[in-house]
Symmetry: C2
């Protein structure tokens, strides 16, 4: 009953012999290529099934030059953002029969190590997905050395098409929401970078915030801007700074939900009510935002992954060089924003 496993794996020749055709035909039949008679194909399939034959990926790759693998260059482990993007991308890649080879890049150091082996990495993959990755022009060249199609998620990155959101507009929307509520002092809790890699995202969000305030004749001074390091604790410390200043804001826009949560805890600690005494808007719409009822900017992260992966699959199959796209961002109204408690204080003098 329990026949022992075959001494060695069946090869394509075994299948050819069993089905009475040549190896070339077996190869075609198994890969679903045209120019194979229906009857022949079925015979081959049956023989392959009978023998439990499976194509050897290594041999196939050597002969065809395709690796059927895509590289994932990302701060994979640890950031909510990358997590979700990958989740979206993975389903598309799996459908296309593509394996996922990862290259974790968490900070400048690991980025440098990756760039050093970019060429070598490129030989193992047919294309690459770059998530949350930002490089300067000199690094860009080393990245290109990978020599395969790439798609970037998050921001523009060199010549690779990208799938992004409009961070300026999103931040403007967030800040405008607070202004329309009647707030005249709106703080900004951001960060120099996220994930320890220089990123243009914070600057864009700051610009959007500034546009909203200045456009309404309000101050967007440096005393309203604090670095929260994109962590819960950093957000708390940042709000403390803001509140200890000469003209504390009545509202803050935080570049991430985690920082928004941190800010809220600091507010509570001081006996302030949210949103009564302090209105808070976050960014991302992660699970904490939902759990704590944080008003936030929702970006369709998983969808970014889906789009990026689809584009990459297209590029790999030789389609026209795709152009990147911008995904919509949406303001999610929850329980942390309301008009200021008192009449808006007059401008600082």
């Amino acid at each position: 009953m329990n026949r022992p496993p075959p001494r060695s794996r069946p090869t394509i020749e075994d299948v050819a012999a069993a089905s009475g055709v040549s190896v070339a035909t077996v190869s075609r039949a198994l890969r679903g290529l045209p120019n194979v008679a229906l009857a022949t194909r079925e015979r081959v399939l049956a023989a392959a099934a009978e023998l439990e034959y499976e194509t050897d990926p290594q041999a196939s790759r050597l002969a065809s030059g395709r690796t059927m693998t895509v590289g994932l260059v990302a701060p994979l482990f640890g950031t909510w953002y990358a997590d979700r993007v990958v989740t979206g991308a993975e389903s598309i890649l799996a459908d296309a029969g593509l394996d996922l080879l990862v290259a974790p890049v968490r900070d400048v150091q690991t980025l440098g190590m990756f760039l050093d082996r970019a060429r070598s990495f490129g030989r193992r993959v047919d294309g690459a997905l770059l998530i949350d990755l930002y490089v300067d022009s000199s690094q860009s060249e080393r990245l290109e050395a990978m020599g395969v199609p790439m798609v970037s998620v998050g921001e523009e990155l060199g010549s690779a098409p990208s799938v992004t959101i409009d961070n300026v507009a999103a931040a403007r929307t967030a800040a405008t929401h607070l202004v329309e509520l009647g707030h005249t002092r709106v703080g900004l809790i951001g960060g120099a970078h996220e994930g320890a890699i220089l990123s243009p995202v914070p600057a864009h969000r700051e610009q959007g915030w500034r546009e909203a305030l200045v456009g309404s004749g309000l101050s967007a001074g440096e005393d309203l801007v604090v670095d929260g390091g994109f962590t819960v604790e950093g957000g708390a410390a940042a709000l403390a700074d803001l509140l200890d200043g000469d003209h504390p804001p009545t509202a803050v826009f935080c570049m991430s939900d985690r920082m928004a949560l941190g800010a809220m805890t600091e507010a509570w600690r001081r006996g302030l009510r949210v949103p009564g005494d302090l209105a808070v808007v976050g960014f991302d719409d992660d699970d904490l935002a939902a759990a704590f009822g944080i008003t936030t900017m929702r970006q369709p992260v998983a969808d970014l992954g889906v789009r990026a992966a689809s584009m990459l699959v297209g590029l790999i199959s030789g389609e026209d060089p795709a152009v990147g796209g911008t995904a919509p961002v949406e303001l999610i109204l929850r329980a942390t924003t309301a008009p200021p408690a008192r009449a808006a204080p007059g401008p600082a003098r």
Copy 2:
């Protein structure tokens, strides 16, 4: 100045020609095998560098039968636990020159899909790391079909050696801490499973909790056990259930920090003080636990990854079948535990 890239990549033959030796010697020299004269090796290395030669991984794999890749089967994207384990493992694998091929398995459905292609997956890797993966005996057989060495992280899993923590003991420690503080009604917020895959972990933690209570002559009744689904919101709802019961506890042990945080928010919402009116102990020691000062059980997650990866590397290189290990878990005292506010209420009657 800007010489064009070589028409096609240099092969081992080019290096052989350039250094005046045979391809066999080049192969040996480049891989650092013995039996190569020092002078010869240097000549080969120089020629390879000059030509910018790099071994073709596909060809190498086909010829040697080794893939130099390890599979990572895990709910990769989204769980704090897997994130950290992978971070630890990745450094070890990189040092060993092993690529990381991922197979995301998030729930029963994706698990099923993975098991269906386990054999095929096994052909692409030399070994596999199984994180947060639990299978029943019938699935276990399909898993073994992978046919490569495996190491499991989290719990015992079939015949694979594993790197785990003692969940029973850890939970017992947590609950004992609350009992020693004087609490006599200690709730348990757990979950049927984590990550939507049947896991024995919750049962173990429940057992530890029960042992602590029963060992002290306290109740460990079912009315003290609630499912929090391992989410912040679930933790909040679970505490609400507990508090709405006939004999609400004065302390709760939560199987994750996220649920602990959820429980705390529910307590606050009801005007209860933590730890004054309700003591809370979490599990994991993730970033939220630190940010919110949650007393918790710290498991050395990254270290689990390091250990597991090291074991796997050993197995792949043909070392003796390693035995698994149990990593230490530590009670981290923070701000959410204190003796009960009032004299302990008498037992329910």
